[in-house]
């Protein structure tokens, strides 16, 4: 555990804590918007496709409205993403100076995707009126590709921090040669990248669905709401079982490549076979307290046999062990727990849909969907805590410690406080604007149904 009182900390240590907290906070804020940015194209294009294909005005109306909401979230994501780009240099100048030439390669590619996404998102969301039907639909397809490509680039850069390779160092530790393909495809990319893209689809899908679930719980059970629930929920529910599978791969990947991280979040103290899988509890040096333990399961999950030897923290040098094992352990359990909760929700929905071609009738289903969006976000945060805190004390696993990377600039705590205020205002304003939009649409819908001589929209 890091020391709790800040006063006796050396300047670097204090800066390190401030820089890590600031990075974590801004990343947590941005990741929600990034998830929407990655998966929004699939949601809106599905609605748009249904609308065009079946001549369905409700689906078209949903697509148009989601576009307007996306204009708000994408702008917010663009600026919070820029802040992160600045922070790489402002908070971790020594990291960028030493490893920018390797770490940066993925970001250079990300630039292309970010451009493509910004350009075609603008064409798509502002092209509703003047670009006709299918031409407009196709203008949205590049942003779908760009969303996935952008997620690949950014997450593969993070994968490289976890499993660095593709560079040669001279005696002074300076990078003197790189292999860009090895940098781009470091071992962890195979599990980190799909895990995050699926997470983005789950977050956006459950979040969009939850908005309509709340509306339906308040009695707005028209076709628009049903469709608004069904399209994103279906996409999220398809992603969920795949995500559970990939998450399992990811955990085994971490066990193989970053045994210290794995031992920390599973709270394994002694190396050996027959490791117990603990659910919940508090991680202490004498093992987990207050948890439900399933004997042998941890070993079995790592190597499909209870004889699998799993590395414990006793085999990790003391100064290379991740801090805050209870935080890591509970974050991991939170992520997995929410994942299985959402899997249950997906199973419920799939079963009822298969039997009755309908949404489950009980309000409890809508209540579950209503909280699923926030739950998915919490799972993403928990997952990133496991990834990032679990890599500590390293910024580049095995090569550079986070304390070596941090800036010596003064006033990071002050900047942190200012960013908290700024982002509180930003988040509040974004939510208020989205609520204003939603209220305006609701009034439009109510007006449309109240006016007896309004032109009838064709029913599909």
């Amino acid at each position: 555990m890091p020391p709790l009182d800040l006063l006796p900390l050396a300047a670097t240590e204090s800066n390190l804590l401030a820089a890590r907290e600031l990075m974590a906070f801004t990343l947590a804020f941005h990741i929600v918007l990034a998830c929407i940015g990655v998966a929004f194209p699939a949601l809106v294009l599905t609605a748009n496709y249904i609308g065009l294909r079946r001549d369905d005005p409700d689906a078209m109306r949903l697509a148009r409205r989601w576009s307007k909401a996306a204009a708000v979230t994408f702008a917010t994501g663009a600026v919070t993403g820029t802040v992160l780009s600045f922070e790489f240099g402002l908070l971790w100048p020594n990291f960028m100076e030493r490893f920018g030439d390797a770490f940066g390669i993925a970001f250079a590619i990300e630039g292309i995707f970010f451009f493509t996404e910004a350009i075609f998102l603008a064409i798509y969301i502002y092209g509703w009126k003047r670009l006709g039907g299918w031409a407009h639909f196709w203008s949205g397809v590049p942003m779908l590709v760009a969303g996935i490509g952008g997620a690949f680039s950014v997450v593969t850069a993070n994968a490289w921090m976890n499993t660095p390779q593709g560079f040669t160092l001279d005696a002074a530790g300076k990078v003197v040669g790189t292999d860009p393909l090895e940098v781009l495809f470091s071992p962890a990319w195979t599990y980190e990248v799909p895990h995050m893209i699926l997470a983005a689809y789950m977050v956006a899908g459950f979040l969009f669905a939850s908005v309509y679930a709340v509306g339906m719980l308040r009695g707005r059970r028209d076709r628009l709401h049903r469709l608004g629930l069904l399209i994103p929920l279906t996409i999220a529910c398809i992603a969920t079982p795949v995500q559970i599978f990939w998450g399992d791969l990811a955990a085994r990947g971490v066990a193989e490549h970053q045994p210290a991280k794995f031992a920390a979040f599973e709270c394994i103290q002694e190396t050996g076979p027959d490791q117990t899988e603990y659910l919940g509890g508090i991680c202490t040096e004498d093992g987990v307290k207050g948890a439900i333990g399933i004997p042998g399961l941890d070993s079995w999950l790592v190597g499909f046999s209870t004889d699998t030897v799993v590395t414990g923290l006793n085999d990790i040098p003391a100064n290379e062990r991740p801090p805050a094992n209870t935080l890591l352990h509970l974050s991991f359990d939170t992520m997995v727990g929410i994942g299985f909760g959402l899997l249950a929700l997906a199973g419920w929905f799939a079963f009822v849909w298969w039997r009755r071609r309908d949404i489950p009738g009980t309000p409890w289903f809508l209540r579950a969907v209503a909280v699923s969006g926030v739950a998915a976000i919490v799972a993403v945060w928990a997952g990133w805590i496991v990834t990032e805190v679990g890599r500590q004390p390293w910024i580049v696993q095995g090569y550079m410690r986070t304390e070596e990377a941090v800036t010596e600039a003064e006033g990071i705590w002050f900047v942190f406080a200012a960013v908290l205020l700024l982002y509180a205002a930003l988040g509040t304003a974004a939510i208020l604007v989205l609520r204003t939009l939603s209220r305006r649409w609701r009034e439009l819908d109510e007006d449309a149904t109240d006016t007896p001589y309004a032109p009838r929209e064709p029913t599909p």
Binding site: V79, G127, L437
Partner: protein, 333 residues
């Protein structure tokens, strides 16, 4: 030309495009700021909003591009700049958040008071952000960023040249924006707005020109490396910029419109490349050269390849976006 030089050219290309298009977006914010009360400023603000809405985010990506190329191809220079100029850079980052959010949120709300508050946020940060960016560029040009980084947090940029450069950034953005808005107003047939922005373009051109000349005097007084080179190897570009600027003035006075935009853009482009030519071969004059701070050759090759792909994929897409926007095919309802 070495790979490192080529990457520097790529970096400067990004900087040029950001100075023109990103600069114009900030400049439009400046005109929004001084457009007067809600009623008086309604039409100019409306034109600004219509012009910016579909394109500002794409234009903003050039900034990301610059950062990424800098940290990937020239990591040492990036680290040195970031660890020295963190005060203006942090302020610029705050400004970027406020500018983008203020603008994007404003178009989605109806209430006049909220619109006003968001508009003020957008407009004020549109002035402060380029000022701090200019201060960063001026501090680099002034030779205040040591190669190893960790230069003084305040005296590195609280100097005449960085502050002048900050002001020049604001003025040149306002100038380009006014010229673009003249063309936009002309296209939509709003003759009064056309002359409204033509008058402002003229004023901005004079102010930007005055700042540029004053900047030269400051440089001369500092007897800096940059000044010697501006009057030597970069002199042709300085002359081109002055000629373009002068041409714009004459055209504005005579009410001519055709070719106004290319000429105005030419003046800014020539300044950016004049600065680059004057710095060459230094990235941080006079402590770090392009080749000294360059990444390993494989990384530089990757940056060049990525740029070529971007040139094939992104530039035509960007052209499509501008074309659709100019044809009034993009609009928010």
């Amino acid at each position: 030309m070495t790979r490192a030089d080529l990457c520097a050219v790529i970096l400067w290309t990004g900087a040029t495009l950001y100075a023109v298009f990103g600069g114009a977006d900030f400049g439009a914010g400046f005109w929004d700021l001084i457009a007067g009360g809600s009623e008086k400023g309604e039409r100019p603000r409306g034109l600004i909003e219509r012009s910016l809405t579909p394109v500002w985010e794409a234009n903003h990506v050039w900034l990301i591009f610059i950062l990424v190329v800098l940290w990937t191809a020239f990591p040492e220079a990036f680290g040195a700049i970031m660890s020295t100029l963190y005060v203006p850079l942090t302020l610029a980052a705050f400004g970027i958040v406020l500018r983008g959010a203020g603008f994007a949120f404003r178009e989605s709300v109806r209430s006049l008071e909220v619109k006003r508050a968001l508009g003020a946020t957008f407009a004020l940060s549109s002035v402060l952000t380029p000022f701090f960016m200019g201060a960063v560029v001026g501090a680099i040009a002034d030779g205040n960023v040591p190669a190893g980084g960790d230069g003084d947090a305040f005296s590195s940029w609280l100097q005449p040249l960085p502050l002048f450069t900050g002001a020049l950034f604001v003025a040149s953005g306002a100038y380009i924006a006014a010229i673009f808005l003249v063309a936009d107003a002309r296209r939509t047939g709003e003759a009064d707005l056309e002359s409204y922005f033509a008058r402002r373009a003229l004023a901005a051109a004079l102010v930007a020109g005055a700042f540029a000349v004053a900047g030269l005097f400051v440089l001369n007084a500092d007897s800096s490396y940059i000044y010697d080179r501006l009057t030597d190897q970069a002199l042709p570009l300085v002359v081109v910029s002055a000629l373009c600027g002068f041409g714009v003035l004459v055209m504005l006075l005579r009410g001519a419109r055709r070719g106004l935009r290319p000429l105005a853009v030419g003046a800014v482009v020539a300044v950016v490349w004049g600065w680059g030519a004057a710095q060459f071969p230094y990235l941080l004059p006079t402590s770090l050269t392009i080749s000294e701070s360059a990444a390993p050759p494989e990384t530089l090759a990757a940056v060049i390849i990525v740029f070529l792909i971007a040139a094939v994929l992104v530039l035509p897409s960007l052209a499509l976006l501008y074309w659709l926007s100019q044809k009034e095919l993009l609009e928010h309802e």
